[in-house]
């Protein structure tokens, strides 16, 4: 009912006066009779532009106020000394000099990098393994997918309490690890606290990567795999030489996403360890939070934010480089 008339109308519109009135309607009041279609078209364009601006402006103003402005202010602030007293003093590079001389900063950087170096590859490997497990529909495959995705939608803040118990001396993790000589509370060990956080971080993120990899696996040509199977290739070599090359761009994309996310690890640290023991899990964003909202040293906190930004940019540049080379 509704589609037929709308389809019929556009061709008729040009010939009928009705269509003409449409063209000149908005500017018609001021330009009627002058008969300059170019001008009325331009006016129509101007009207369109005005309406378009009304549509864009709310989002754009919010964006200017809360993303663009603060981003520039955040970088700018790192050159100032600004604290709760409200005095803004130009510091030049002093915040950065202080940062590079601050052993706590290096500790936080080390913790953040160690966490990322462990969490990203493990998470990716698990994503691929689980995706391979559930890639083709079989009885229960949807159920497994949903179970693996459940942690992704679960806030780590809410899961923190149970994981604290799991990693406590009375918890199951200690009991499982005791035969390996790694019993006791991992969260109280300066060496094992990062691996413990990695376990929780991977638990909460691999399901996301799994879904992405499942989508990518659909593009692997079945014939290639079947041909390899006919040639007697085992499961591992089929994966290594047929599937993996197809997955490369996806895995690369995931690695970038996961790395930038793990650079920003905060919730996990906040609820599980508060940065302890002895700063052994003190991450960069945790330090930013401490400096900004505990010591209200806004300039220094902004400098840490800039350091994070630079780290993200480095990852993005590597991404562009590698993608460029692939093309």
């Amino acid at each position: 009912m509704t589609t037929t008339p709308t389809q019929a109308r556009p061709p008729a519109a040009g010939g009928r006066p009705r269509g003409g009135s449409r063209d000149s309607r908005p500017p018609g009041r001021s330009r009627d009779g002058q008969g300059r279609p170019g001008l009325s078209k331009r006016l129509l364009g101007r009207r369109e532009a005005r309406i378009a601006l009304i549509f864009v402006l709310p989002a754009f103003l919010l964006f200017l106020a809360f993303r663009f402005g603060p981003a520039i202010a955040g970088v700018g602030l790192s050159f100032f000394d600004y604290d709760i007293s409200g005095e803004l003093d130009w510091e030049g590079l002093k915040n950065f000099e202080r940062m590079f001389a601050d052993p706590t900063f290096w500790q936080a950087l080390g913790v953040t990098l160690a966490y990322s170096v462990l969490a990203v590859p493990i998470s990716l490997a698990l994503s691929v393994a689980m995706a391979l497990g559930v890639r083709r529909a079989f009885r229960g495959s949807r159920f497994f997918r949903s179970v693996f995705f459940l942690p992704v939608i679960t806030s780590l803040v809410l899961a923190g309490a149970i994981f604290k118990w799991i990693f406590s001396t009375d918890g199951p993790w200690s009991a499982i690890m005791a035969p390996l000589g790694l019993g006791g509370s991992w969260l109280n060990s300066t060496v094992l606290v990062i691996p413990a956080l990695v376990v929780v971080g991977v638990w909460s993120r691999f399901g996301y990567g799994m879904l992405i990899v499942i989508a990518a696996l659909q593009d692997v040509p079945r014939e290639h795999e079947e041909a390899a199977l006919m040639d007697g290739a085992g499961a591992w070599s089929r994966f290594r030489y047929i599937v993996l090359p197809h997955l490369k761009p996806t895995l690369f994309f995931l690695a970038v996403i996961e790395t930038t996310a793990s650079f920003q690890v905060f919730d996990l640290v906040y609820v599980m360890t508060q940065g302890g023991p002895a700063h052994a899990s003190y991450s960069l964003v945790y330090m930013l939070y401490d400096q900004g909202f505990k010591y209200t040293d806004y300039g220094y906190a902004a400098a840490i934010g800039v350091a994070l930004f630079v780290m993200t940019l480095v990852v993005a540049l590597i991404q562009r480089r590698v993608l460029g080379r692939q093309k």
């Binding site: 601006l53 919010l62 964006f63 809360f66 663009f68 939608i153 996301y208």
Partner: protein, 291 residues
């Protein structure tokens, strides 16, 4: 696992021969390792529920995980303490207002970016996109300072307003609306519909699938958001669930009460997920929305 074996036999036979279908043994093996992974993945949720039902227990593993001698005392304590319900309300306001506002704003902007011509369009759009790269933490301190000066700390508007600037949402809406045929809008225009009516009666209804996907993700993000509400909500009656429950963990609250609070906070999100599961999984796979 035992019921799976006859199935495995049946599938290859009813279909045409497929070399890659797993053998019977292969399928059993796969069920075994997937089940182990699923149990490991689900274990924290199970432990959370069981331990939350065991108040006042010296929690010894593994006896503590057996589902008997249960009591709902912790839940009574959590829900009777009023606070959790206040936090639940705050979280709902934070999430729902943001979902509605972001969807509306990003659909409007996305429509203009996709279908309209105006000066500065490219610049505007690319500045949106470039900001996706800037970590939230760079903007955190200045945003907080400005809002503190404007008196936005401890208010709903201060909490919500900055999170409405969502570049990813605008980008996704533009992508989707670009795929809609121009003729639809033209036809409505010829019928004399104004731009806002076109937007409300044509663009929005056509965008339903992408709005659903985006909406559930914005809901999830806000429900789970932590650092921003932690900074903006100072008094305990402005806290969201994540902030409130994190504060319980810092006090000397019994484990079972803490876990009862977590379960209460998780139930709505699991309900939302079970209803909108399809949209969530599609959002990740087709649009690559971050979880």
């Amino acid at each position: 696992m035992t019921t799976a074996t006859p199935r495995a036999e049946r599938i290859p036979r009813t279909r045409s021969f497929r070399a890659l279908e797993p053998t019977r043994g292969g399928l059993v093996l796969r069920y075994i390792w997937l089940s182990i992974a699923a149990v490991a993945c689900f274990f924290p949720f199970y432990a959370m529920v069981v331990l939350s039902l065991k108040p006042g227990l010296a929690v010894q593993f593994p006896q503590s995980l057996l589902p008997w001698n249960l009591s709902t005392a912790s839940y009574e304590q959590v829900l009777g303490g009023q606070n959790v319900l206040v936090w639940l309300g705050n979280t709902l306001i934070y999430a729902l207002v943001s979902v509605v506002a972001v969807l509306l704003l990003s659909a409007m902007a996305g429509y203009a970016f996709a279908k309209k011509r105006f000066r500065g369009k490219e610049t505007m759009f690319w500045s949106f996109l470039a900001m996706v790269m800037v970590p939230f933490h760079v903007t955190l301190i200045p945003t907080f300072i400005v809002l503190a000066k404007l008196g936005g700390v401890d208010t709903y508007w201060g909490l919500i307003l900055p999170t409405l600037a969502n570049a990813q949402a605008v980008f996704l809406m533009r992508q989707f609306i670009q795929g809609l045929p121009d003729e639809l809008f033209e036809a409505a225009r010829i019928d004399g519909a104004g731009e806002f009516r076109i937007f409300l009666t044509i663009v929005l209804p056509l965008c339903k699938p992408v709005l659903a996907t985006l909406g559930i993700f914005i809901f999830l993000w806000h429900w789970n958001d932590f650092l921003w509400p932690l900074i903006m909500a100072k008094s305990s009656d402005m806290w969201t669930l994540t902030v409130g429950i994190a504060s319980l963990q810092q006090q000397n609250v019994p484990l079972s009460v803490m876990l009862a609070g977590s379960v209460v906070a998780l139930v709505p999100i699991f309900l939302a997920y079970s209803v909108a599961q399809r949209y969530v999984q599609e959002g990740v796979t087709s649009a690559g929305i971050k979880g």
